[in-house]
């Protein structure tokens, strides 16, 4: 039914009510002075009545606002459980649609708006892991700016609040698996729109093949295009002074382009690689950079290249724990016991810089591990700190970090670092705290904007190396995997070795996530073309017959009152 039809019927009804009113009889009177005085007095009474009604209306409005602001549960029809909207926060959601359309996250917001408008009146909604129940108006305001309203929580594994229905908006790229109460009705809304993309998946230094060779950088480019056919890619590699390399490539979809770049010809400082592709929808992976710390400036000293030696005997681990009793049975203890390559020589209570030194001499060890089984101040982070043994003798271990916790997945690693040789950490779920690195440390693995593993490698003579596993081992599967033993082995070697050139090449911007580039890799069905065509069409909730009937009843009541009681103003 068109909108104007019920409106016209209502207008005709109102007109008819006015027309059927009986005509007034004319009555001559001596004077209308008294009548006018009487009507003036009645008008004063009406004004007082109007004032009282206004007060009542204002009180009602204020009460309604208060109740709405407090989100009273009894206002929610149908039991009060909200409808949850969960948005995939992975970087590929920022990819645009073909032909310059909106991004996938904007497409997800449009789909969410449709769901909100079609929901029952009075429904409440939650967005991502935020348990705050929003009204339809509030959630529409959040959805109106999806780039800021929905991208603030990059949790890869959020716990969705209890809801009667969950809508998951994802492009299926990457393992996005929100934690949802079992049995909850869940709908996955695909926002996958295949499109052309070329991205740099690796740009990192690697050890030279021979001692005579200089440092090299490994560059890898991956291309995807649903249309098939060769994809033109322009590659430029520049140092701080000028563009050193410019190449035009023709890459087939799914091809992996690999190039080794001799860094000897580059000026000291950062090296940046860029690619440009016509019709590219994802710009985040079009640039990568690295910093060759060994060639960072004219005063820097090139260190001799030495390969890490292979250990033949178990690494000796001295465990310093906030509570030695708590270490027994912990995930770290079980992992160390199961690892034949390491040997826990002693577990001692940790002492601070102001505490008296322990009476018993510390045993000889290769690694000093500081285990924080319980946080001192919630929400401090349980963590495992690995230091050289001399750090213990010096009276201090790595400081305990205390910061808000967040559940994430590790999505970037520096696979070229020797500490991660044989260690696979991608997609490892961790509970990680926000930390700040000092200038001597860098991220070895990160989860979103959080640093999961930090490595500190100060200049020779200014301190010792250290490694911080900055997430909760007891709530991670790392302790049950062989990766932890490998990490310990690598740490034992790296902490005791003289710094090698591999450690000098800190690739802080070279951390690449290959998944982010494969924007078309998804098991979900792509969004149909007709759905995309309706994206720009504004949706409008039609007037219900119930609303129209209520409005008509109110109008008729008002007319009846004015007609029979003479309250027409």
């Amino acid at each position: 039914m068109p909108f104007w039809l019920p409106l016209g019927i209502t207008a005709l009804l109102v007109l008819a009510i006015y027309l059927i009113r009986p005509t007034a009889q004319a009555l001559p009177v001596a004077s209308t002075v008294l009548w006018r005085r009487l009507l003036a007095a009645r008008k004063r009474r009406r004004d007082r009545l109007r004032w009282l009604l206004s007060l009542l209306l204002a009180t009602t409005v204020a009460g309604s606002l208060s109740v709405a602001a407090s989100r009273a549960p009894w206002l929610q029809p149908g039991g009060g459980d909200p409808i949850a909207l969960a948005f995939d926060p992975s970087p590929t959601m920022q990819a645009g649609l073909p032909a310059g359309g909106p991004s996938r996250i904007e497409l997800a917001a449009a789909e969410a708006r449709r769901i909100v408008l079609e929901a029952d009146a009075g429904s409440r909604f939650t967005v991502n892991a935020d348990p705050t129940a929003l009204t339809s108006t509030e959630v529409l305001a959040v959805l109106s700016d999806p780039l800021t309203g929905l991208s603030n929580g990059p949790d890869t594994e959020p716990a969705i609040p209890t809801a009667r229905r969950v809508h998951v908006f994802t492009d299926g790229n990457g393992p996005y698996a929100p934690i949802i109460d079992p049995g909850t009705e869940t709908h996955t809304v695909s926002v996958l729109v295949p499109a052309r993309n070329a991205g740099i998946v690796r740009f990192a230094t690697r050890p030279p093949a021979t001692s005579a060779a200089g440092p090299e950088a490994l560059l890898e480019i991956v291309v995807t295009d649903p249309a098939g056919g060769p994809v033109p890619v322009e590659l430029t590699v520049a140092d701080s002074e000028t563009i050193r390399i410019r190449r035009q490539l023709e890459l087939e979809p799914r091809d992996r382009f690999t190039a080794l770049i001799d860094l000897d010809s580059f000026a000291p400082g950062p090296v940046t690689a860029r690619i440009a592709t016509p019709g590219d929808v994802f710009s985040l992976d079009n640039r990568a950079g690295l910093i060759d710390a060994g060639r960072a400036g004219p005063a820097s000293t090139r260190l001799a290249v030495r390969h890490a030696r292979t250990r033949t005997e178990p690494g000796r681990v001295l465990v310093m724990a906030r509570s030695p009793g708590s270490f027994a049975g912990s995930a770290a203890a079980l992992a160390l016991e199961a690892d034949a390559s390491v040997d826990v020589v002693a577990v001692r209570a940790a002492t601070g810089a102001d505490d008296p030194p322990p009476e018993d001499p510390l045993p000889v060890a290769d690694i000093a591990a500081f285990h924080r089984a319980a946080p001192a101040i919630p929400p401090a982070m349980p963590a495992l700190y690995l230091d050289p043994p001399q750090a213990v003798a010096a009276g201090g271990l790595s400081p305990a970090a205390e910061a808000p916790l967040s559940q994430r997945r590790i999505d970037r690693t520096d696979a070229s670092h020797p500490l991660l040789t044989g260690v696979s950490l991608l997609d490892l779920p961790v509970v990680v705290a926000a930390r700040e690195l000092d200038s001597q440390c860098s991220a070895l693995a990160s989860a979103g904007d959080r640093i999961a593993i930090a490595v500190c490698d100060p200049a020779p003579g200014s301190g010792s190396r250290s490694l911080t596993v900055a997430f909760d081992l007891d709530h991670s599967s790392l302790a049950q995997r062989p990766d932890l033993a490998a990490l310990f082995q690598n740490a034992a070697s790296w902490l005791t070795e003289t710094p090698a050139i591999t450690g000098d090449l800190t690739a802080d911007t070279g951390l690449q996530d290959e998944r982010a580039t494969r924007i078309n890799d998804s098991s979900l069905e792509p969004v149909p073309a007709d759905r995309l065509a309706e994206l720009d069409r504004p949706s409008r909730r039609p007037w219900s017959w119930r609303t129209l009937a209520l409005a008509g009843l109110l109008l008729a009541s008002f007319e009846a009152i004015t007609f029979f009681r003479g309250l027409t103003l």
């Binding site: 009113r21 009889q25 009555l27 001596a30 209308t32 002075v33 008294l34």
Partner: protein
């Protein structure tokens, strides 16, 4: 056409009228001989008081007997009697007779009877009477009349009056007293159903007259079939007023009329004026009794 039937006074009624006279509290008597005491003492017949003799007093008024008894020169004072200027402003607007027929003229006939009775009383006591019928403006003013022989002239004049036009008491007061008439007793006889009533009464205040307001009312003015929406048409102005029929409306109208009357009564009382409510159903005896209570009339000579 003269309508003398209105003034068909009985001889007994006229006799009762002759025993009444108009009272005024603050208006001095005039120079003609009358039956009103002057506010000053002079050479009348009624002894009033003594006062010490001062040089220049008329030695004929010295009381020699008092001189013999008290050994002081005392002057005898006598009350001086004069006439009273009476101005009767009679409302002849259309609201006094809104509908033709015998019932429609009840207010106007009652007002004329009151005016005739007061004129009779005033002329019988040798007061000077000025009749000023008015509506939108002052009609032809009759008077001042003096002497009881002028009674029939006044009655004939009143009998020939007719109603019409709007009420403008303010304009009337300006026209009647523009020539600087003597201070006296102004009697306004009207239904007071006009927005100009209060303004007209206010104009009388600086003239320092004694004022008596007689409101003539007819309960038929407060009756109307209001069972449905009604458009009231003002008989004077022709203005229409839409009224939505509602129960108790006439009851509220009666209360409003009473409130209106009380407002004017309060205003008159505050100024020391007399206010008399004269329903058309009331007899002249009842009206005179009310006037006696309010100090407009007194018994005896």
């Amino acid at each position: 056409m003269a309508d003398h039937s209105v003034f068909a006074f009985e001889p007994a009624f006229l006799a009762r009228l002759e025993r009444l006279r108009l009272l005024t509290r603050r208006v001095p008597a005039g120079g003609f001989k009358g039956e009103h005491r002057a506010s000053h003492l002079g050479s009348g017949l009624e002894f009033a008081d003594y006062r010490p003799y001062v040089e220049g007093d008329d030695v004929r008024h010295l009381d020699w007997r008092a001189y013999l008894r008290f050994d002081r020169l005392l002057l005898r004072m006598f009350e001086e009697h004069g006439d009273l200027a009476v101005y009767i402003l009679l409302d002849c607007s259309h609201s006094m007779a809104p509908t033709p027929g015998a019932f429609g003229r009840r207010k106007f006939d009652a007002a004329r009877r009151i005016a005739a009775a007061l004129t009779y009383i005033a002329l019988a006591t040798l007061d000077r009477v000025t009749l000023a019928p008015y509506s939108g403006h002052v009609h032809q003013v009759l008077g001042p009349l003096h002497g009881s022989r002028q009674v029939w002239r006044a009655l004939d004049y009143l009998a020939n009056l007719d109603t019409g036009g709007e009420t403008h008491l303010d304009r009337t007061v300006r026209e009647v007293f523009a020539a600087g008439r003597r201070r006296g007793l102004v009697i306004v006889i009207s239904d007071l159903l006009s927005d100009t009533t209060e303004g007209g009464l206010d104009l009388l205040l600086p003239l320092r007259h004694d004022v008596a307001v007689i409101q003539v009312t007819d309960h038929r003015d407060l009756e109307a079939p209001l069972d449905r929406d009604t458009t009231l048409v003002d008989s004077e102005t022709g203005d229409s007023l839409r009224i939505h029929g509602a129960p108790n409306l006439l009851h509220r109208l009666e209360r409003e009329a009473e409130a209106h009357r009380e407002e004017i009564r309060t205003r008159c009382t505050a100024r020391g004026w007399s206010f008399i409510h004269a329903p058309v159903e009331a007899s002249f005896e009842e009206l005179a009794l009310g006037a006696l209570r309010r100090g407009l009339l007194s018994r005896g000579r």
